[in-house]
Amino acid sequence: MDTQEAVAESTPVETDGQTESKRDGLKRITLGPNDSLEGKLTYGGHMTVEGGGRAEGEFRVGGNIEIGNGTVVKALLEGSNVTIKGELEGRLTARDKLYLGKSAKLSGDVQARRLQIEDGASLNGYVRMGDFEHQAGS
């Protein structure tokens, strides 16, 4: 129960075909099928949960967050670009863009600067868009 593939900057993780870390030099944590993370995490890089990896708690990351297909995450999330293709229960803040893929299921309140939802995705909760300066909002 734990996993960290935090990779140093210049060593992008290629496991999931992503090369973001190569581009922006951020570290990345990837939780795979046998991994689980519970608790509170504050992290400067990207975070990916995929293949059934488990994550529960509160995660605030400086980079992007991706929740892969078939993965269920119960957490309060905060990241720059957040991509959800699996399921998320909990509040979510995307400082930049939130993307819900067609198999995504999200229940929880959402705050995002930009929002894109594909047909097939399901979302239940309040949505607020706009710049983050005003995130406190109503």
């Binding site: 863009k97 929002l115 894109q116 594909e118 995705a121 399901s122 309040y126 949505v127 868009m129």
Partner: protein, 189 residues
Amino acid sequence: MIGQVYIEGDLRVAGVVEGEVEVTGNVEIDDVAKVKASVSGGDVSVRGHLTGPVVARKRLIVARSGALIGDVRAARLVIQDGATFSGKISMGGSFEAPAPAKPAETPPVALPEPEPEPQPMAVMPEVAAVKPASEPKPQAAVPAPAPVKPTPAAAAPMAAARADGGKVIGKAGGKAKAAPPPKGKPKRR
């Protein structure tokens, strides 16, 4: 236009509408449209500005040019990148029931006086009721005594309500559509 629109068929809005819109078919809100109303329909696509609660029995699409502020219930939901959305989203089950029921009750309410003319404009035998000024905005005083024109040129007071055989025609000229001649319509936002 200001008032209520109930249509059996589809509706396309290309002007300013305030009040309530209920459509058995699909609703399209064009880029130039500004709607401040509760809207319900099968497929609802928003490319303009819509403020108000929305029920989409089938699918709600907020295109990149669209802005929707209001609570939403939809069976399926698509929001394109670039769109603006704010409100509560409820998806999945349960709203099917109320939706159909509601339209039924609306028609009974008599229309004030607006529809004297047998004109083609009002055409839709099915456009059940277009009530201007019923209850929405205070300012909605006199609907337009003016006869509705079939011609696009003339500003049809209730142009918005136009539907042809299930097919809808919004108004051609973006604003022509919803311009009630008599009232200075308060073009909201």
